[in-house]
């Protein structure tokens, strides 16, 4: 039986059941967060590093979580910020602009053993990687994660109108990429 977020938080606040509660929380959210991160950083090893860092941050900060927002939106926000920070640090390490990092990721996709998509799916991922970071995250959250605009708005702290416009532009750019390549 899957525990509710409220139950998990209560167990976490109790010193005697803290580790157990955190284990349950990880099992509940690890896949959703991992895939969200993986779609941003693309490479499995990078996604593995980021998801571990995300959960360690969650462990440190969960005690102070005041439930102003829902637990999963809070977790998504941490995962999104960590992924962007990771890409930025990768850019600095390699001394290349972010677009070049994404170009490299796009090239690596075709030879990645952990990528099993067909030609169309590869093309879709390459098109997505050509989007500006924020549009890419919005597109992933809406299209792949199936989140609602209201939920994405809370996670990214944006207005629903701005999100809809961004998603619309992202779709148009992907369509253009498909028709011109």
């Amino acid at each position: 039986m899957e525990h509710t977020d409220q139950e998990l938080l209560e167990k976490f606040r109790d010193e005697s059941t803290r580790s157990y509660a955190f284990n349950l929380l990880m099992r509940k959210y690890q896949q959703r967060l991992y895939w969200h991160i993986r779609r941003i950083v693309v490479d499995h090893d990078d996604a593995n590093d980021v998801v571990q860092n995300v959960f360690i941050k969650v462990w440190k900060a969960l005690e102070k979580f005041r439930e102003d927002s829902q637990l999963y939106t809070w977790l998504y926000r941490i995962a999104t910020n960590e992924s962007i920070t990771f890409l930025n640090s990768k850019k600095k390490r390699l001394f290349v602009p972010l677009v070049d990092v994404e170009h490299e990721l796009s090239n690596n996709l075709s030879g990645d053993p952990n990528f099993t998509g067909d030609k169309i799916m590869l093309k879709l991922q390459q098109a997505v990687l050509k989007l500006p970071p924020q549009q890419r995250i919005i597109f992933n959250m809406k299209y792949f994660d199936g989140l609602k605009y209201d939920e994405i708005a809370v996670i990214l702290k944006l207005t629903t109108g701005a999100l809809k416009a961004s998603y619309h532009h992202a779709v148009k750019k992907i369509e253009k990429y498909f028709t011109s390549n």
Binding site: N23, Y34, H44, F55, I56, F115, T116, L122, Y143, V171
Partner: protein, 196 residues
């Protein structure tokens, strides 16, 4: 100006001529398309439509994979890392080494700059200033005074000052006594001055 009957007749005959040309296929289209274009257009459009991702469907296929058993072992790995972080107490030396091993060298540079500023500030503000009291431009007596003043400690100075203060106070009280005596005996100080 309204067209007269003659003009109307001419226009009518022209329209009849154009009608004959159109029906006989004399009017040609100036534009052209590649050979067989319209035969393949339908298939081409369908191909593009099929290749487009279905943006309307919410749940989409996930093309990525993870190594086998990854999600089963992930919670254990993370909890191990949390335990390691808890028990890990690093010394200042290790911390500095960690700062310098960071991928972003700007933090290490900033840290090094701060250390340098602290070291040089401490050196500067705690330095000993040596004053050479032997100077050709200063008279010997002043140099001697300066030399003695350097040897005198604060307690000696305080003692000397207190003695001077007592002496001044004593002189003042003596003057006050003379003044009172002159006033009591109604002696004019000018007459004394004249006598002297």
């Amino acid at each position: 100006m309204q067209p007269d009957d003659e003009d109307l007749k001419k226009i009518a005959s022209m329209l009849v001529e154009i009608k004959d040309d159109l029906s006989s296929g004399k009017a040609e289209n100036p534009f052209a398309v590649p050979v067989g274009y319209f035969d393949s257009l339908n298939a081409e459009v369908m191909k593009k439509i099929e290749s487009l991702p279905d943006f309307e469907s919410v749940s989409s296929e996930n093309p990525f994979q993870v190594p086998a058993g990854y999600f089963e072992s992930l919670p254990t790995i993370i909890q191990q890392r949390i335990v390691e972080n808890k028990s890990k107490k690093i010394s200042i030396g290790e911390w500095i080494a960690e700062v310098f091993s960071q991928p972003a060298p700007k933090y290490a540079l900033a840290f090094a700059s701060i250390i340098l500023v602290i070291v040089f500030s401490t050196k500067y503000f705690t330095r000993t200033v040596k004053v050479d009291y032997v100077d050709q431009q200063i008279p010997d007596s002043e140099q001697l005074d300066a030399f003695y003043l350097q040897q005198v400690d604060e307690s000696t100075l305080a003692e000397v000052y207190s003695e001077e203060f007592t002496a001044t106070t004593t002189t003042d009280s003596q003057n006050q006594g003379i003044e009172n005596y002159l006033l009591d005996n109604d002696i004019d100080i000018n007459s004394i001055t004249e006598q002297l």
